[in-house]
Symmetry: C2
Subunit: 205 residues, 2 copies
């Protein structure tokens, strides 16, 4: 989609940053159904004209803000599959539990609301799949994982687990759920849990 | 919270059902920030007076609707820990992926918006914890699981995995994610994945 920006006129990075911050925060708190360019400008303390010079519609504004503020999941090679997966889970708990966590969760849930958002969401999942796939393939090459390890189920367990951890830590009172360990400790313990067999004897299929 | 219902006047179950269905659908689609008693009545085709006879505010209306329509996660004793966990995952994919899945995901994310919703969300998580705890304890008694098995991480992996599966199946185009198997097949394969070790040799801690 082309933006309605007069050629030759440079964008002010400070205004860009304020608008992106306000867009991500507003979307996280109230969701797509309450998202308007006017509300973003009010929150950012920026005149509406500045926003309309940059974006012709609110989907573009939000998609660009999410892209610049949420960051990307990337693959980190630590030398062992356990270390790599701990880094992946740390990035995921940071994404869902951090400052912009509500916006990331909203995006996962409300992406259907607008085509520009769906694309951004697919990009987020694609980055997770790329990182997980690279980790699994290295683990197989190093002989740490069986050849047939499923990237899909590994992602369901790890991404889902990180999301569930972020959601319940945010919502559920400590007397209902065991108190949450720091992010680094959660990542290590949870990866060990997923990697290490729990069955003491083989189940009969 | 007391409802403003005249004593001696029976509630019409058909009107109750229509209002509850409309409330859950509307909340799932547009979230708490767009949720009003008026909008629920419009969608249900029911006069506003009927709703105001039953509920004094919109939080009560939604909390009651979610309680009656979303159902509860329950513990099913199949005789093996694998069978029990497959039943748990099936209930979870049904909760998040089924007809009311969007409302369940919204509830997990927007529970902070209102105290009555937070309570309902805690109740949902509490039922999941109760079911998982019963399954783990039976598995330990039968000698299938080690004594120290963590209910918390098991829940993160299984509930999170079911949520992630439901979200990505809904959102992500098939060329990005491997095509989704039927719910029963996903539940069996995913539980086997979580229960069975993937490491071909012990990692060095």
């Amino acid at each position: 989609m082309a933006t309605a920006r007069p050629s030759g006129r440079p964008r002010d990075p400070d205004v860009d940053r304020k608008l992106a911050e306000a867009a991500v925060a507003l979307f996280g708190e109230r969701g797509w159904s309450s998202f308007t360019i006017e509300a973003v400008c009010r929150r950012a303390g920026v005149g509406k004209a500045s926003a309309y010079l940059r974006w012709s519609d609110k989907t573009e504004l939000l998609a660009e803000a999410l892209t610049t503020r949420l960051g990307e999941i990337s693959d980190v090679d630590t030398g062992s599959v356990r270390g790599d997966l701990v880094q992946l889970v740390l990035q995921l708990t940071d994404l869902y539990g951090g400052e912009h966590g509500r916006a990331a969760l909203r995006l996962a849930m409300e992406a259907e609301s607008a085509p520009g958002l769906a694309e951004r969401c697919v990009e987020m999942v694609r980055a997770q799949i790329r990182a997980a796939r690279a980790i699994v393939h290295r683990g197989i090459r190093r002989g740490e994982l069986p050849e047939a390890t499923s990237v899909t189920y590994l992602l369901d367990a790890l991404c889902g687990g990180a999301m569930n951890h972020a959601l319940t830590t945010r919502l559920v009172p400590p007397e209902v759920r065991a108190s949450a360990p720091p992010a680094a400790e959660f990542a290590e313990r949870f990866v060990d849990f997923v990697l290490t067999s729990m069955l003491t004897r083989q189940h009969t299929a």
